[in-house]
Symmetry: C2
C-alpha cells in the first residue's frame, strides 16, 4: 500500500495515566512508558500508522492537554525525531472528551487541507497483526474516501462491561481489502451491564469498538452538525477556533467557548446515530492498557492463577499478579492481590480494586510525594538513564548508551558530574578535549563544562554518573548544539 | 554494683534468622541487625551485661554455630572491639538445643574457673529498664552464688502460646535487691495451648520465662546430672569435651558424641524438675524478636489497626503492618497483611502466616537467590555502608562515616574504587599520600593501593564508592594495620 495523500494520523494522547501508578508518573503518563515493548506506547502507536502516511510536513497530529504537551514533545523529540516523521501537537483548550477533541482536530486539519483524511489512534493500546493491520488500514481509508465513518471491530473474548460494542449488518462492497471485509454498523452499545454483555456475545457479528476511526474531516463535521444542537455547537466552536491562527487557540476566548461545550464521546454523539458508520472486523492482537491489570498480558498464569513478571518466589498464593522490574518480591499465602513494584515505590491492592489507585495518587499528591512526579527511568534516542539514588545534594544515575550513539551535548552551572565507566568504551567531549574512557576509568566534569559522550564499542556502554551540587534539577541543564562542539574540537 | 568476680556472660547467638527475611540474610542473621535501635541486637545484648562484668580476659562467651561464627566475629570485631570488652566464641559441635549448649558453656568455663558464674542472655531480645535491670542482675547473681538456678520472670500481657510460663511460689530471703524480690519457682508450663494460657493468666504470680538465666557452672552441671540418664549423658559429653584443648572441640570424635545427645531445652530437662529454681519478677520492657511481627513494636496502630514504619500511604486497609526502609509502599483495600520492604527485596504475607517465611527462604535457597545471602547494609565501628546497586563488574556503595572516625585500612588487587564525597570533608590516606577531599571532589583508588579515610568534619561524611573490577567479593580485601600506614606517611 502506498502512502495515502491527505492522510493524517491523529494520536489521542491526553490521558494522565493516574491509573498506572507507580509505573506512570505525572510527567511520565502511561503512553510514555516502555513497559509493553522496547518503545513507549505512544511511539508504538506512531510507528503503527507511519508506513501509511505521506512525506509532507506534519503527517502526525498528537492531541493532548497543556500539562502533557511538554513531556510528550520532549519524549517524541528524543525518541522519534530525526526520523522522517514530523509531527505537530494539538493542545485541547479544555478537556471535553472525544467528540470536541476530534472535531477540533478535524476542523484544524480541514482548514489547511479540505480533503484531509483523519486516522484516529488512541495512544494507550497494544496492537499487533501485521498483514491484518495493513488490510484494515487500507480498508478504513477506502471507506473514509467514500464518506464513511470507518471503525475497527475486534472479536470480543469475554462479556466485558468496560467497552463499547458494535453490532454489524450487511457486508459493504467498498473497502474489501485482503482480510478486511467491512460491514455496515447497525447498532452501538456503550458499556453494557454484565447481562447485556453476555447477551451481546450470543449475537453473530458483534464486535468491540476499538476506538480507532478513519474519516474525512468534512464527513465528521457534517455528521456532527446534523446530530442536533450539541453537534452543531461543537462544530461551530471548533471551526471558529480553526479559523484563527494557532497562537490564538489557547486564548481565554477560545478556552471559554470550548469549556462551554458538552463533554461527550464521539460514540454517543455521532457513531450511535449516523447511518454512515462502517465497521471493519479485524483479527488483531489488541489490548487496551486501561488499568494495571494490563500487566497480566506480559506473563502467563500458573496452575493457581498467579502471574509473575520479574524475579521472585511464591508459596501457596492464588490469583496473584506480581510485576517487578528488578527487585525481588516474595509472596506467601496471599489471594487476589496485585503487586506492582518499581525501584522507588510499590503498590499493593486487591486485583478488583486496581482502578482505585487514583485515590492513592491523590493521597500522594497531598503529601507532595516525589514518587508521584519524578520518573525513575528515562528513555532517550541514544539510550536510557535511571536514577539510582537521590540525596539532598547528590544524585546517582546509571547511564546506558547504545553502540555508536552519542548523548546530548549539555552544560550545567551548579553541579559537578563524576563519570565512572563500568562496561564498554566511551569517547568524551569535555569542552575542547577529546578523552577516551575504558571500563573502570573515571572522569570529572566540573561545573560550566560542555560535555557529551559517544559509545565507540560494540556493546552497551554502562556508566555511573554521580552528580553533586546545590541544584540537580533539569533547570540547570543547558542544551548545546553538537555543531558547536564539532567546531571547537577541530 | 561492682563487677562480679567469676561472672561470665554467655550470649546465645546461634539462630539462623530465617524467620526474619528479608531483613535478615544468611550472613546477617537477625541478631546482627540494627533494625531495633542503632546497634545490632547482639551488641545491645553484650552492652546490657557489660557493666556487671570484671576486667579479666574474655568475660563474654558468644555461643554460636559454625556457619555464623565468622560473620559474628567480624561484626563484633568491628562494632565492639577496641572497647574494654574481650570475648570468645564457643562453637556448638552440632546444634542440639539449649540444654547441651548451656552444659557445653558451663563445662568449658568451669574447667578454667571452678567458681564460674554464668549469666545467659538470648541475643534476639529487646529489653529496657535501667534500674529494674540492674536490680534484677544483682539479684540473679546473689541467687546463683547461693546455688540457685535464677530465671527472670516477665509479667504476661496476653495469653501467648509461644512462650513458657513460670508459676512462682514463696518469696525468698536471698537476692532481695531494690525492686527485685525473688521467689521460688513452683512450676513451669512450656508453650501452653490457648485455653491453658488463658487459665494461667488468672493465677497470681505467673510470669513469662524470658530465657535469661544465671547460675554457677557447677550448679547447672550438678542439677543436670541428677535429672536422669539424659542429663548425665549431656554432662559427661560436655565435660569430656572441655577436658580436651579448644582446638579439639570440633574434631569428628566430639562432633559424633555431641550429635548423639538428645536435642532438648534447658527448661524441659532441668528447670521443670529442679527444686533449686528461683524466679525474679522483673518490670522490664521486653520483646522477643521471634518473628517479623516484632516490627510492629516500632510503630503505633492507627484507628484501623494499621501500623506503618517508613514512608507510604494507605487507602482503606485494615490490620496491615508495613515496614519499609526508604522506598515508598502504597496499599489500597488490603486486610491482615504484613509487608516487609528492603532495598532489594519485598515480602508479603498474611500477618498470621509470617512464621512461614522459612518456606520462602527455602525456595530462595533452591534458586540460589542473592537476596538470601548478600546483606545490603553493614554496620561498622566507624559508620556504615550500604550497597546501592550491583552489576556483574561493578558495585556502588553509599559510605557514611561518623565524625572523627576512620575506616579500616585495606587494599584490593582486583578492583579499582572511585570515591565521590557528597557531604562533609575527608582526609584520605592513599599509599604514602594524604589528600583532603571536600564535597563534590573525587578520588581514584587504583588496584593495589592501601587506603583509608577519616571524617574530619563535625557532621556525617557521606561518600559514594563505585567499585569496578572482576572480583568485587570480600575475598579481595586485604586488611592492613593502621600502624603501617602511620609509619609510611611520617
Amino acid at each position: 500500500m502506498l502512502p495515502v495523500t491527505h492522510l493524517h494520523a491523529v494520536i489521542m494522547a491526553g490521558g494522565s495515566g493516574a491509573r498506572f501508578w507507580p509505573l506512570s508518573r505525572e510527567c511520565d503518563p502511561k503512553q510514555l512508558l516502555s513497559v509493553f515493548g522496547t518503545q513507549s506506547l505512544v511511539v508504538q502507536t506512531i510507528q503503527r500508522i507511519r508506513p501509511f502516511l505521506g512525506m509532507r510536513p506534519n503527517p502526525v497530529c498528537v492531541v493532548t492537554n497543556e500539562q502533557l504537551v511538554g513531556p510528550l514533545r520532549r519524549h517524541l523529540d528524543e525518541t522519534v525525531a530525526g526520523s522522517d516523521t514530523t509531527m505537530r501537537f494539538l493542545v485541547e483548550p479544555v478537556g471535553r472528551n472525544t467528540a470536541p477533541a476530534l472535531a477540533y482536530a478535524a476542523a484544524v486539519l480541514q482548514a489547511e487541507d479540505p480533503d484531509a483524511l483523519l486516522f484516529i489512534l488512541p495512544s494507550d493500546h497494544i496492537l499487533e497483526g501485521n498483514g491484518a493491520w495493513a488490510d484494515t488500514v487500507q480498508a478504513a481509508v477506502l471507506l473514509a474516501q467514500n464518506n464513511f465513518l470507518a471503525t475497527i471491530g475486534l472479536t470480543p473474548t469475554r462479556p466485558e462491561t468496560g467497552y463499547g460494542y458494535i453490532v454489524a449488518g450487511e457486508e459493504l462492497n467498498i473497502g474489501q481489502v485482503g482480510q478486511a471485509h467491512p460491514r455496515r454498523a447497525d447498532r452501538f452499545v456503550e458499556k453494557p451491564d454484565r447481562i447485556q454483555a453476555e447477551a451481546l456475545l450470543e449475537i453473530p457479528k458483534v464486535y468491540w469498538n476499538a476506538g480507532i476511526f478513519c474519516f474525512r474531516a468534512e464527513t465528521l463535521l457534517a455528521e456532527l452538525a446534523v446530530q442536533g444542537s450539541q453537534g452543531q455547537q461543537i462544530v461551530e466552536t471548533c471551526q471558529a477556533l480553526a479559523s484563527d491562527p494557532p497562537e490564538a487557540w489557547l486564548t481565554d476566548r477560545h478556552r471559554e467557548r470550548f469549556a462551554a461545550l458538552p463533554a461527550c464521546s464521539i460514540d454517543t454523539v455521532v457513531m450511535e446515530h449516523s447511518s454512515r458508520v462502517a465497521v471493519i472486523p479485524a483479527n488483531l492482537q489488541w489490548q487496551d492498557v486501561g488499568s494495571l491489570l494490563a500487566l497480566e498480558s506480559l506473563g502467563t498464569a500458573d496452575a493457581n492463577g498467579n502471574i509473575r513478571i520479574g524475579r521472585g518466589v511464591d508459596i501457596a498464593s492464588n490469583d496473584v499478579t506480581i510485576y517487578t522490574t528488578e527487585r525481588l518480591v516474595a509472596t506467601l499465602g496471599v489471594e487476589n492481590l496485585l503487586v506492582v513494584d518499581t525501584r522507588d515505590a510499590t503498590f499493593i491492592c486487591p486485583k478488583d480494586r486496581c482502578q482505585e489507585v487514583r485515590a492513592v495518587v491523590e493521597a500522594l499528591r497531598q503529601i507532595g510525594a516525589m514518587e508521584l512526579t519524578e520518573p525513575c527511568v528515562r528513555m532517550r534516542r541514544w539510550g536510557r538513564w535511571e536514577t539510582l539514588l537521590r540525596g539532598s545534594r547528590y544524585q546517582i544515575k546509571l547511564i546506558e548508551v547504545y553502540p555508536g550513539a552519542q548523548t546530548a551535548l549539555q552544560r550545567h552551572q551548579q553541579r559537578s558530574e563524576h563519570w565512572v565507566v563500568v562496561e564498554g568504551t566511551a569517547v568524551v567531549w569535555r569542552d575542547d578535549e577529546i578523552i577516551t574512557l575504558s571500563a573502570s576509568e573515571s572522569l570529572f566534569i566540573p561545573p560550566g563544562t560542555a560535555h557529551s559522550l559517544t559509545n565507540i564499542g560494540t556493546g552497551m556502554l554502562k556508566m555511573i554518573e554521580v552528580q553533586v551540587g546545590d541544584d540537580l534539577s533539569e533547570g540547570d541543564t543547558e542544551r548545546l548544539k553538537l555543531e558547536t562542539m564539532k567546531e571547537m574540537v577541530q
